[in-house]
């Protein structure tokens, strides 16, 4: 069963990362530990929390993390200068004692709390560690580590150390997403410079941070075990209670229905589920379900460079013919909101309030197709097995298009094939169903659809100079009002290009046993360290 839309695309995920993230379903449970009685008996001596991951773990180095599973584990291991308050869009100070942004926005003066230790005896956090952490991702250190997240720190000029615990972050230009996505999320975590230099590429599986938990076991496709860090510096205790659990286990179980088994068998406590499996637990005694909005989006895209889809009338016809409401009802069990554009309403800025929501118009579609002389067109619809219910979505689209007189073939590929970038794969792409995930700043939703992402993640081959320049403009704008206008303008232009049928803004659906009180970050990621127990 495919999970919710995949993690952010881009250099974040190499094919191997993708493939690593698509291990066989349920095999995590099939392997020896299960039969060795790893099914949890009630253990009163140590409190253990077991969480399900729906994508496999990859790399816990903030510079190379591969996806949302890594993020959720890293949340327990690392801290940044400022992080999101649990469940809120506000950030609060974690490692930073003082945090002052200059008038022109190009300098951030910070000072660290004293005496915050790293794991594994690597000493205190110092400004030098902050400098190293950020500069290595930005690609400024030598050698350049070529981090997947280099673009997050592309505006970084340097981090100047002014004292053992203080420094200044200097930017080359304004970078609006810095405060919402770079600093408070994975790219803003502070790592121990000594540890990274010691452990080299092994750092990704033996991380050293300042967080309340440290990694004690790493078994890809099986589990990751975290234990409470005895010397935790308490940087988060300004806005959160003391951590409860002695151990936290993360278990990647790719198949949602296998994960449902695990929940009923008591082998996991909580985790995300596909709509159908989530429904099973709604209203059941002893279980709880909840949903949380994300910044993700799923869509039907059209590659405008393909001969079949070059004519805008054909694309508009497709947009008119597809019944998005039917897809939401039948394929997603009504669990997701219908999307009208790329930016969802819970995004702090950028939501286009009065985006047009196309009503299904089969006659209109027929007219457009006739005008375009596209009567005998055969379109190829592709999707990937790692998407949410691709079979139903594709069959509904196929039937919808057939009503308008368009023939359509379906090819649901394995994830490796579908997510191949550029080259022949891109040339052959026509109509496709997939989703990307988003972050709390609209920049990251838009970035994949600019001209420099052609033949990369820009599957629609959307290239518009105004769009590109608006994106650059909004990136460096200090004014939220102006940014809002820019992003709406971008979405307007995009809508006019008619290369996408917006389907859903997927929520993440959780289910778990009644006894845990979950804590979810603003982008839908689990904050395992902050889970509590119901009294």
């Amino acid at each position: 069963m495919p999970p919710v839309p995949t993690a952010p695309p881009g250099p974040l995920l190499r094919r191997r990362g993708f493939l690593a993230a698509l291990a066989a379903a349920g095999c995590g449970l099939a392997s020896a530990p299960l039969l060795a009685g790893c099914g949890r008996a009630a253990d009163t001596r140590s409190k253990t929390l077991v969480l399900r991951l729906d994508v496999d773990m990859g790399n816990l180095d903030p510079a190379f993390a591969t996806g949302r599973s890594d993020y959720e584990i890293m949340e327990c291991l690392y801290e940044g200068l400022r992080n999101y308050r649990p469940g809120s869009l506000d950030t609060a100070s974690t490692l930073a004692d003082e945090f002052e942004v200059s008038q022109d926005g190009l300098e951030i003066k910070f000072s660290l709390k004293r005496g915050i230790p790293f794991h594994a005896g690597y000493g205190e956090v110092t400004a030098a560690d902050v400098k190293y952490s950020y500069e290595r991702i930005a690609g400024i250190t030598t050698p350049n580590i070529n981090s997947s997240y280099q673009s997050d720190w592309s505006a970084l000029a340097e981090v100047r150390v002014t004292g053992t615990y203080s420094g200044v972050i200097r930017l080359k230009h304004l970078f609006a997403p810095l405060y919402r996505t770079t600093l408070p999320l994975e790219r803003g975590y502070v790592v121990s410079q000594r540890a990274v230099l010691d452990r080299g590429s092994g750092f990704g599986t033996a991380p050293v941070g300042t967080g309340p938990y440290e990694l004690v076991a790493w078994e890809p496709r099986n589990r990751a075990v975290l234990r409470r860090f005895a010397d935790y510096g308490g940087a988060r205790y300004g806005y959160a209670d003391k951590v409860l659990w002695d151990e936290i286990h993360f278990r990647p179980v790719l198949d949602s229905s296998s994960a449902a088994i695990a929940l009923t068998a008591g082998e996991i406590d909580f985790g995300p589920f596909a709509p159908l499996d989530n429904k099973r637990f709604a209203g059941e005694q002893g279980y709880q379900t909840m949903e949380h909005p994300t910044f993700d989006y799923s869509m039907l895209g059209m590659n405008v460079n393909h001969a079949n889809l070059r004519d805008i009338r054909v694309r508009q016809a497709i947009r008119s013919a597809v019944d998005a409401d039917a897809i939401l009802a039948a394929a997603f069990d009504g669990a997701y909101r219908r999307a009208s554009a790329i930016i969802p309403p819970n995004m702090p800025i950028g939501h286009w309030d009065d985006a047009p929501v196309p009503k299904r118009d089969v006659d209109g579609a027929r007219r457009l197709l006739a005008e375009a002389g596209a009567r005998d067109l055969q379109i190829a619809l592709t999707s990937s097995t790692d998407q949410e219910n691709p079979r139903d979505v594709c069959q509904i689209v196929q039937a919808n298009l057939a009503d308008a007189g368009l023939r359509c073939t379906i090819d649901i590929q394995d994830a490796g094939s579908f997510w191949t970038l550029g080259g022949q794969a891109q040339e052959q792409r026509q109509l496709f169903y997939c989703g990307f995930s988003g972050l709390p700043d609209p920049y990251w939703s838009m970035v994949w659809f600019t001209s420099d992402q052609l033949n990369q993640w820009n599957f629609q081959s959307y290239s518009d100079a105004t769009f590109d320049s608006l994106q650059q403009q909004a990136l460096q704008s200090p004014d939220n009002g102006l940014r809002q206008a820019d992003y709406v303008a971008m979405q307007r232009r995009w809508d006019a290009a008619a290369n996408t049928v917006w389907l859903a803004w997927p929520q993440v659906l959780f289910a778990g046993r009644d006894g845990v009180v979950p804590s979810i970050r603003v982008d839908g990621r689990m904050l395992a360290w902050n889970f509590r127990e119901r009294a």
Partner: protein, 304 residues
């Protein structure tokens, strides 16, 4: 003989990539793999050596227990298989045990009242049921016992630490598989019994006043069983194949789901490893059945 068969099977699997039309790497990874992955695949699947060398490496590796590594996570395939095997074996053996346990009384009763209603029903249905796909029976049982009646849990293997729970999860899957073979085994046993019951020594035993049920269960059965033992080997092999469906339907973790998931993920090393194991088990089962047959039936020993 069995060894020879096994050898051919292994060679076939080693050569499969080359037998099928298309470039081996493209077959495994799909048409648009990136060069780094292709290189990894070539190395791990030993594609850079000559074809005979590949076969040799595969055979020697398999004997040592090295079936390669799964592409995606680099875990040894043998580890995955060994982890998944116990659940499947338990399922197959339990099903077989249930089938035999049901078959014996059915056969004895039919043979005792030849031509009676039980005999006639058994005659018709035994061949019929065995031809119904296992997943059909599994689904119907799932519907009945779980969705409608809610008696038994629908999914999972249950917690291993709690035997009762594990059993509860085992009942339906084992029953589905057992039902298929019970009728067929019963029918065969019945024929063998009839043959035995016509013998002189049976009549002699009756003349001596031996109780009827004793005659059937102790004397006749003992001499009729050998002809059925042979089939148990076949049954076990067939059960391994059907177990794939049953495991998927009842969402049990085991060799079947491992194989199935590996197939959909295009994880060829794991698929190959799983198939090797199943073939080995099948040949072993038949071998054991053959040996058991010879041990039980002294006449066969002489013929040999």
């Amino acid at each position: 003989m069995a060894i020879l068969v096994l050898l051919i099977v292994m060679v076939f699997l080693a050569l499969l990539l080359h037998i099928l039309p298309g470039n081996p790497v493209t077959l495994m990874l799909g048409p648009r793999a990136d060069p780094a992955l292709i290189e990894l695949a070539r190395q791990q699947m030993d594609l850079n050596s000559s074809v005979p060398a590949q076969v040799w490496h595969f055979l020697t590796g398999a004997v040592r227990g090295d079936l390669g590594r799964d592409f995606l996570t680099q875990r040894p395939v043998s580890e995955l298989i060994v982890g998944a095997l116990p659940n499947t074996l338990i399922l197959a053996l339990t099903s077989l045990a249930l089938a035999v346990a049901a078959a014996i009384p059915l056969a004895v009763l039919s043979a005792a009242r030849q031509g009676g209603w039980l005999d006639r029903i058994l005659g018709t249905m035994s061949v019929g049921i065995i031809s119904i796909p296992s997943y059909v029976i599994g689904m119907v049982l799932l519907l009945l016992a779980t969705v409608w009646l809610g008696w038994l849990p629908a999914i999972g293997t249950g917690s291993v630490t709690d035997p009762l729970d594990y059993l509860a999860h085992l009942v339906l899957p084992a029953l589905s598989l057992a039902m298929i073979w019970a009728g067929y085994l019963a029918r065969l046993l019945r024929s063998a019994l009839l043959e035995v019951l016509g013998q002189d020594y049976i009549r002699a035993a009756r003349a001596y006043g031996l109780a009827e049920w004793r005659i059937h269960y102790q004397l006749a059965l003992r001499n009729a069983i050998p002809s059925v033992v042979a089939l148990i080997g076949v049954a076990l092999g067939d059960l391994m194949g059907s177990a794939i469906f049953i495991e998927v339907i009842f969402t049990r973790n085991g060799l079947g789901t491992l194989l199935y998931n590996a197939t959909t993920q295009r994880d060829y090393p794991t698929v190959r490893g799983g198939v090797v194991l199943i073939a080995v088990l099948f040949v072993l089962a038949n071998l054991l059945a053959d040996l058991a047959n010879r041990a039980i039936n002294p006449r066969l020993r002489e013929v040999r």
